[in-house]
């Protein structure tokens, strides 16, 4: 959620903080957006198994640039020297209010356990059709701890739907976005992956791959995408650093990641639907060269290769309940030349790797209740300088290894009101099970219970 985190850390340390804030345990801004519902005349359940999980119709809606509409518009057709206009009569605005309570098994030393945030976050959306082929998901979010609004996930698309390739339908378009994988159609990739909501007060593991939220809202990207024959989805995007709140042109001094040149992102996925079975398998990744705190000099390089899958089974005999299984594996290889050369160094040596595995199984009782169990694991190269020792947030012997589980129950009494109870447990945290921070804290001390109410309107 917060891109600001990246500005206060350098080199490898950035990914610790960014991961902490954004991914595995950062609050996602993802959800069903009512302005889409107002635009299409369809309920949230038309696009979502449970927000933000997209079903086939939701994926198609996003693929086609958020433009499908059944409501009145102001329009003029294209003529000889006149451009066309297709403008929704109602500005597509939406709002979300999140309030939450978090308690950890062991209080963070010196702090009061049981954090009640009212709100945890408030988001405003400009989400809907801007024209017949252009639409947006654009979000700004107020963060209670930062006490200000900041730009959040954004995906602006221009889509063409009349293409043909080898006699089959080709949907194609452009995406401008600020978070690698935010343009994705499935919930097995980081930006829209599980957990769909999460605490921003409990300690969380510090190591994470750069594609797993490390660049969220800290980059600007332009890319092209295509879906052929409703089966093959291909995306290519290039990103540049775009540091919110920092002066432009970028001099690099503010921030831990300064992309040198451009960072390419790729995505290839195959999806198929047979009867009540809906399946996707794919790969994604990116390559980033960055200089911490500067725009010249030595470079750190990161290459992330990832695979993912998603399977949904609709069970007509059980009132169309849906079983979902998702997973992703990310392999990151990094060459931290700049971090090693920094004064003082922020990495002990050049070559590192990080393996991230996440998976979850979910049962949807209609659109009212979704229960999920998720497992996660991060393992990688130990480096006491990159992953230093410190109370609560530090690592044991420089190890980035963490693993644990998440139980989640989300109840939607109405499609725009969500109540979630979520338990996160750790069997290993920042390299250890017991006394991982060398200050007496155990991994399970960071186990947390999180209660959240979301109001969407």
């Amino acid at each position: 959620m917060s891109s600001q985190s990246g500005k206060f850390f350098r080199g490898g340390s950035l990914r610790l903080a960014a991961f902490l804030c954004v991914t595995l345990f950062g609050a996602h801004g993802a959800l069903a957006v009512p302005s889409y519902s107002r635009q299409t005349g369809l309920p949230c359940s038309a696009c979502h198994y449970a927000p933000p999980e997209l079903n086939a119709f939701g994926r198609k809606f996003k693929l086609e640039g958020y433009t499908f509409a059944t409501k009145p518009e102001i329009s003029e057709d294209k003529k000889d020297h006149t451009s066309a206009l297709h403008l929704l009569e109602v500005l597509p605005l939406s709002a979300v209010f999140d309030t939450s309570f978090t308690s950890t098994k062991t209080p963070v030393p010196g702090t009061q356990n049981g954090s009640f945030e009212f709100p945890q976050a408030v988001s405003l959306f400009l989400a809907g059709a801007w024209g017949s082929h252009v639409g947006s998901f654009a979000q700004v979010t107020y963060d209670a701890q930062a006490d200000h609004f900041s730009w959040d996930n954004t995906d602006i698309r221009a889509a063409g739907t009349n293409g043909k390739l080898f006699g089959k339908q080709l949907v194609y378009g452009l995406t401008m976005n600020n978070n690698p994988t935010v343009e994705d159609l499935w919930n097995s990739t980081p930006a829209w992956g599980f957990p769909f909501v999460s605490t921003n007060t409990a300690p969380s593991p510090t190591a994470g791959a750069i594609i797993n939220g490390g660049l969220a809202q800290d980059v600007a990207g332009l890319g092209g995408y295509a879906m052929w024959n409703d089966h093959f989805y291909l995306v290519g995007t290039v990103y540049r650093s775009e540091h919110l709140g920092a002066p432009q042109p970028n001099d690099g001094t503010c921030c831990g990641f300064n992309i040198r040149g451009m960072a390419p992102y790729w995505r290839l996925a195959y999806q198929t639907t047979h009867g009540n079975h809906d399946f996707e398998i794919g790969t994604y990744g990116m390559h980033v060269k960055s200089t911490p705190g500067a725009i010249t000099g030595p470079e750190d390089a990161y290459t992330d290769w990832a695979g993912d899958f998603q399977y949904n089974l609709t069970i007509p005999e059980w009132k169309n309940d849906v079983v979902s299984v998702r997973g992703t594996y990310i392999r990151e290889n990094s060459s931290l030349v700049a971090s090693v050369a920094a004064v003082p160094p922020t990495a002990g040596f050049v070559g590192h790797h990080l393996n991230t595995v996440q998976g979850e199984a979910e049962y949807h009782f209609g659109t009212r209740v979704a229960t999920t169990i998720g497992l996660f694991s991060v393992t990688g190269t130990a480096d006491p300088i990159l992953y230093p020792q410190a109370p609560v947030t530090g690592n044991l012997n420089g190890s980035p290894n963490s693993r644990g589980y998440i139980f989640s129950v989300a109840w939607w009494p109405q499609q725009n009101i969500g109540l979630t109870a979520q338990y996160t447990g750790y069997t290993r945290f920042n390299g250890g099970s017991t006394n991982y921070d060398q200050a007496g804290r155990n991994a399970n001390g960071n186990n947390s219970i999180y209660l959240m109410a979301r109001f969407v309107f």
């Binding site: 299409t40 005349g41 369809l42 038309a46 079903n55 086939a56 119709f57 994926r59 198609k60 809606f61 086609e64 499908f68 509409a69 059944t70 409501k71 009145p72 518009e73 057709d77 294209k78 451009s83 066309a84 297709h86 024209g131 017949s132 082929h133 252009v134 221009a158 889509a159 063409g160 739907t161 009349n162 339908q169 378009g173 452009l174 332009l222 890319g223 092209g224 409703d230 290039v238 040149g261 451009m262 390419p264 999806q271 639907t273 009867g275 809906d278």
Partner: protein
């Protein structure tokens, strides 16, 4: 490599907009408003159509309905199909009714 990527970005930025203009004949209307679920041929055999249980427009069930009944479904919606009465003009809806009829003959 980076220079090539710059060229790509500039090209993407300027190449796009030939598709930005909408068309309004029946076939285009059907493609933009209906094919998302019902498929271009009307079969309903799309992932979206399966998700929303879209009807096969070529089927006896659909084709046995009168023009007025089909027009009413398009105008007011039914089950998970949204209403298009506020979006489309009456003559556009009639064009779509005619197009649905032609699907059965293809």
């Amino acid at each position: 490599m980076n220079a090539k990527l710059w060229y790509l970005v500039v090209a993407l930025f300027f190449i796009c907009p030939s598709w930005l203009a909408a068309e309004n004949d029946a076939a285009s209307l059907f493609k933009s408003k209906c094919a998302m679920c019902h498929a271009e041929g009307g079969s309903g055999n799309t992932p979206s159509g399966k998700a929303l249980k879209a009807k096969d427009l070529r089927s006896q069930e659909t084709q046995s309905k009168s023009d007025a009944e089909i027009s009413e479904v398009i105008t007011k919606g039914r089950n998970k199909m949204p209403a298009f009465g506020q979006k489309l003009k009456p003559d556009q809806i009639q064009e779509l009714v005619g197009y649905v009829r032609r699907l059965a003959k293809k």
